[in-house]
């Protein structure tokens, strides 16, 4: 346990000093910070248009933002987590896995009384702590900005849902960290190590959810979206493949936690897929053997 904590502490020290994770971190925090503002601007713009439409007598429909949860303003954060957050997690994972090989300190580390699982678990714990600190900071920024925009502090229920949302976000990012770590361990070159998980992320985030919808040739050729026949081949394909997209499951879970009325789905199923992605990655990671870790340094 001591060696795990030593590795975790070293990970935090190293992350504090490295430039690329720092740049990504700044971009991520800034984007998430302005997401509440973007949500507020959307609300204001739509409400103004609705007001003018009502005044012109063109509609009697209620304001679409009436009774919408204050957490609505955090919904853009979901997209930034899937895009910038996941990329940041991959880069941090790859950087961490390759650090000792690049610095040529791996033999020194492995000549100390530390097992390979403890070495890797320490890295995972260290990065997890780093991500937890970042997400805690972002959660505070979100809570504060939403409270300012709505003119009232978020209540205990909404605050708890916000915390739950960031806890799920941490799990998602940790899943991508394990992907980055594995790629860093198994790749001989840093470019390959970055390219492989980013390609996987692209497939998971963009391809899997679209197969069976955008892959429908009619919808690709026709600017007017076609209605997919329920029970048809494309619908079945989409039903089978879309749950495999951990990012889509995160969007679903986040929407349900944040009370977005447009999102439907099963929260337990979405959480299960996210936890499963992280657990599988962590198990494969911790099963890595010593020879694999030494990799290119092998005599």
């Amino acid at each position: 346990m001591t060696t795990v904590l030593t590795m975790a502490r070293q990970e935090l020290v190293a992350l504090r000093r490295e430039r690329l994770p720092l740049v990504l971190l700044i971009v991520f925090v800034v984007m998430v910070s302005v997401s509440s503002l973007i949500g507020w601007l959307t609300n204001t713009t739509v409400s103004n248009v609705w007001q003018k439409t009502v005044e012109a007598g063109l509609t009697q429909a209620p304001n679409p933002f009436t009774d919408v949860s204050a957490l609505y303003y955090a919904r853009n954060t979901v997209i930034y987590l899937v895009l910038i957050g996941a990329l940041m997690a991959i880069v941090v994972g790859v950087t961490s896995a390759m650090r000792d090989r690049k610095a040529r300190t791996l033999d020194l580390v492995l000549s100390r009384p530390i097992s390979v699982p403890a070495y890797l678990l320490g890295k995972l714990v260290g990065i997890g702590a780093w991500l937890a600190m970042i997400l805690a900071l972002v959660a505070v920024i979100s809570w504060t900005s939403i409270s300012v925009i709505t003119g009232a502090a978020l209540g205990p229920g909404e605050s708890a849902r916000l915390v739950a949302f960031y806890a799920v976000a941490w799990l998602l990012l940790q899943a991508f960290v394990t992907l980055g770590l594995l790629s860093g361990i198994y790749s001989a070159r840093e470019t390959t190590a970055l390219l492989v998980p980013i390609s996987i992320w692209s497939v998971v985030a963009f391809v899997l959810p679209q197969i069976g919808t955008s892959a429908n040739p009619v919808s690709l050729l026709n600017p007017v979206p076609s209605v997919i026949v329920p029970g048809g081949a494309f619908d079945t394909l989409n039903t089978v493949l879309s749950p495999l997209s951990v990012t889509e499951e995160f969007k679903t879970a986040s929407g349900l936690i944040l009370g977005n009325p447009e999102v439907t789905g099963s929260l337990p199923l979405s959480l299960f897929v996210i936890v499963l992605a992280f657990a599988v990655g962590a198990i494969v990671l911790l099963a890595t053997n010593r020879d694999r870790i030494r990799g290119a340094l092998r005599d």
Binding site: T2, R104, L108, V109
Partner: protein, 245 residues
């Protein structure tokens, strides 16, 4: 406490079917400064990597201070220090940050006081908060020695410790090696190409040839056994070029 620091029996290591080390039987007493000589590819680094538990043998066994390296690798790691050839550190971290990490990995819970003590012993003070990336080869080597002895190991493994050092650096390192052996009673196992260093530093030597131990004896016995040779270099070359028996 055993009187034998290192013992290998039938130690072999192959890489993809190619033998790098064959049937190495080696015994090194505690308190020795042992120099392992051999040409490039003779198996010196493989031997050190096996003894430091970085590699597992293909066949045979080895004990360091009586601890089996395969059965209890962490037990061995606790009693050894290791300085690899061309030692590197985390360049963007300071001397203290690097040594704290390796100290904690070696089991020191509060390493700062011990680090200052070791740096003082090695006459390397005033660089605690400097980043290692700015250090010369000789300075890195000092930090390397420091990390290797922080936990007061019984056996210190040095892989080509003088490689790349200027003559002043070589002399300083030699003094450190002798002092560690004399003051702290450490058994020292070093790979080297520099025969002059062996003469000035080691108490016993071994010569590897094509993965096999061709010779092992104390330095004094070696010089006595080859009275006709003017230098250790000649002895080394004669043993190396001798036909396989």
């Amino acid at each position: 406490m055993t009187d034998i620091a290192i013992r290998t029996t039938g130690l072999s290591k192959s890489y993809s079917g190619t033998a790098a080390l064959r049937n190495l039987d080696l015994t090194i007493d505690s308190g020795e400064i042992f120099g392992l000589l051999g040409h490039n590819g003779a198996g010196k680094t493989t031997t050190v990597n096996l003894l430091t538990t970085l590699l597992e043998p293909t066949a045979g066994s080895m004990q360091v201070v009586g601890v089996d390296t395969v059965a209890d690798p962490n037990g061995v790691r606790r009693v050894i220090g290791y300085l690899p050839e061309n030692v590197q550190f985390y360049d963007n971290l300071t001397t203290m940050e690097n040594l704290r990490f390796f100290g904690r990995l070696s089991g020191l819970s509060q390493p700062d006081a011990r680090i200052r003590e070791v740096l003082d012993y090695l006459d390397f003070t005033g660089h605690d908060d400097q980043r290692v990336g700015s250090f010369s080869k000789g300075m890195r080597q000092r930090v390397g020695i420091a990390q290797a002895i922080l936990h007061e190991p019984s056996v210190l493994f040095l892989d080509e410790p003088t490689s790349g050092l200027d003559p002043e650096g070589v002399r300083q390192l030699r003094d450190v090696i002798v002092a560690l052996n004399r003051d702290l009673g450490m058994t020292i196992f070093m790979n080297t190409h520099l025969l002059s260093e062996v003469t000035k530093t080691c108490t016993s030597i071994g010569i590897l040839r094509q993965g096999e131990l061709a010779y092992q004896a104390s330095l004094a016995a070696t010089l006595e056994a080859f009275p006709g040779e003017d230098s250790l270099e000649e002895i080394y070359l004669n043993i190396r070029s001798a036909p396989d028996s």
